[in-house]
Symmetry: D2
Subunit: 279 residues, 4 copies
């Protein structure tokens, strides 16, 4: 479907994370190894935090691999926390409003995966979105609706609980219609302070998700890599498939779990869907 | 907001209607005289009928005035019935799914004007759309929602009645929320046999609408214009503002009325909105 | 680099050649098997002949696989002779003026391959183009310069001789600069009556090229395929890699040869480069 | 033709110069008052200096007024020196490589105006460009060729002298072909330290050009404008037509003169074309 990358740590050029590594996300736009599709050429997006009140967004329908503006932006913007996403569309149009990340105030959201039989469920899911949030849905993807469901259910107060409830509603809504495995995917969201990254699927066979090992360990493993010396101790990358050429640099996020990164309190915790209607 | 043109008659190159006349629709994309905005540069669309089962659609987010593909298509496609539309966006994103005309099976739909305070009403209007039609709404415009409302209310069986009911629901929905003049605009729709063109606004000050006088009269007025000799006797143009340089060639569609053209049964009739909920 | 298809025969919907077959050119835009690159997502183009004075052109920088306008055009335009091309850019920008086919009057031209070290040779090659043709070069590709070189050298009078001289100049120009194998590729060109398709490379290891066997043979091989019964006896497809699922349907164009199709005088002939300066 | 703006001074958000003022450059993209064309909707560009080795570039073929990415970038990038340009194309295609500013190393270049009968002169002018610079010409505009002519003639060492020689060659080349007034326009160029802005036309009726009065004077004139208190004493805007609503804020650059701004050594000097071939 898609590939994505989230970074938190000392400010770096987006280019250093997006273009420089071996098997970078830009390479993955043409030749993904672990993705459901090898080509992720149906648009891309970058969201970055800086000193402004809301994060910046740059989204385009061009393939990432040949977008000069993305290369320029990545070569000139430094950020301590950013999301990048490359898209392989499955059904919804290739248009800017369907490109990830999505934004609400200081929150960013991106997703790799899908809601199975979304066209059938969309109306009911959209109706569950709070009326005040409804006009903010600008595109047609399942991912954007899921974001607004999570916002409706308290994302800004308790992200893991809100995502658990949002996915729970998707599962209930799907199963009422005979969909066996309604949700599939990985999700990243942030408020500019921390990044939450979820891995879950109704089937229990989720899209891959990896986070980088702590910098201190990486420095010991690779003492001759200057980039590792420059990064702050709390730097962390979370990716849908490993980038770079450093064996041992990545831990897989297990099935049905989520990672929290940023602010020196990184955690890996189990993720359990909440079936609100059932309760 | 926008400018549009509908043609029915003997097959002509789209170019002859779209580019050739003085003050053509292409000129109007840069310099409209009667439009709410002089520039209509936020995308365009062409829908044309031919021997295939559904009409063709070509829609783009580029300004019409510099789109080479539009020029090529118009110079190579002949049709007996086609719609062209140039857009001036007011609020909704410039993306292909927001470009007119919209299509459902053999039906085309285009609109110049707006639903006032649409963001506030959108959710309720969308809920009124038939569940089976809901997934077909791909963009975010008021015009597309209105089309699906009209389809829900019987457009394919009785276009004037369905449009009257759709606009009626918009007015009721708006007035419940304190919107004084909920609807404004002109609408064209077709099934490939006939074109229906409506002029109506809640305020009674509607966007302009004109239809060409019958070809026999025009031939008498302008005996030295070869194009008028070539067109069939039932050829008719309906436009949001006059094109060409032939004084006396146009009749204005009056306030609160609609025109039917095509198949030799052209009519001009009063248009009265149906307030279904009230009844 | 790229993939292309040329058709000549009884008029068909472009869709039938471009989308319908197994492993169609649209599939090849995502998953080419024989191309130098599996992904050909850097724009596309269609050129088609009809009753108008010049062929129509539709070119876009979007990937072909997700372009709605291409799908619409292909589903509504019938032609007896057309070119389609999907691009994998190598160096020159992704812009409409770099998309194939290129056009000059009634002539179309498309190319899969490259001029090695083109940046180094471009100035000299461009200087060889006739001064009156020079302003027609709108983009930055080697393919477009080669087209204008061939036009300069008599393409409109004797296509094989002009291509032989144009490639000869490229080889001379390259070898003067120490380029071992200056030219690589396959070329298609047409005047609307016939299609010439060339396969040649300085190295003698050219990009692949195939033409369909004659319809009478195919009808015998596949008596249950209605499409083969409908096509005229002189119908012919020339492609950079086979499409469809009919074993035995394709002949490979040999190294250093060219095919002529159209008008019932199909031929396969040797291609020898002319080194004009040497003579 | 086009409209442009150059800023030098203390770092500001690009948004503050590009969107905030009354009659901003964004407004001028829809409704220019002094431009040759009221609409400048054929693409735009931003070039900005920061700590990186070369300035950043963001160029797009969309109209500036509805480009979300431009709005985002302008709202998140702060710079002490930047160029912005909106384009009204006259002849050359609307493509990214034809959008201003153009870049060479640390140098930026933008232009409002034209070389008269450029198609006729282009080949000769391009031949005058240094061979090593020739491959850097990526688009088809007169403005980009003029930039490379100026680079060939020493722009990096002595900008006024190089521009005088480049325009001189254009005039000679044009007059040899019977073009009465070969050059028209205003030009801005920068190395990141200073901005040079030229106003000149062969006819002596040049496109308009204005620079802001010094900040100290403006603070006295408008003591209640906080923005004027925040800007550094050497802040300067140079624009093709005045922005904002501060009467007395602008000085016109006279015919045949150029301004230098940046680094506290602002100057206004006469500009005389050098006819090199004649000497």
């Amino acid at each position: 479907m898609c590939r994505w990358l989230a970074y938190t740590g000392s400010p770096v050029l987006i280019h250093d994370a997006l273009y420089s590594p071996a098997h970078s996300l830009i390479d993955q736009s043409l030749h993904s190894r672990l993705g459901a599709e090898p080509t992720n050429g149906d648009g891309f997006g970058v969201g970055w935090y800086d000193g402004e009140s809301t994060p910046g967004l740059f989204r385009s329908i061009e393939p990432a691999w040949n977008d000069d503006n993305l290369r320029e932006l990545a070569g000139h913007v430094r950020s301590h926390m950013f999301f990048t996403h490359i898209r392989a569309a499955i059904g919804s149009p290739v248009q800017q409003t369907n490109c990830h990340p999505f934004r609400h105030g200081r929150w960013l959201w991106m997703h790799n995966g899908f809601i199975d039989r979304f066209a059938m469920m969309k109306r009911d899911l959209v109706l569950t979105v709070d009326e005040s949030l409804y006009p903010e849905i600008k595109g047609g993807t399942d991912s954007e609706v899921l974001f607004h469901l999570a916002l409706t259910l308290g994302l800004e107060d308790d992200p893991p609980a809100a995502v658990a409830r949002a996915v729970g509603i998707v599962e209930e809504c799907g199963r009422e219609r005979g969909v066996k495995y309604p949700f599939q995917g990985t999700i990243a969201t942030s408020d500019g302070e921390r990044v939450w990254a979820f891995r879950y699927s109704s089937e229990g066979k989720s899209r891959s998700l990896f986070f980088s090992r702590d910098i201190h360990t990486l420095r010991e493993l690779y003492p001759d890599r200057p980039i590792l010396q420059q990064l702050s101790g709390d730097a962390r990358l979370i990716v849908s498939e490993p980038i770079g050429d450093l064996p041992g640099a990545w831990n897989e996020v297990p099935e049905s779990s989520y990672a929290v990164a940023g602010g020196g309190h990184d955690q890996l915790l189990p993720f359990t869907v909440t079936h609100a209607r059932a309760s």
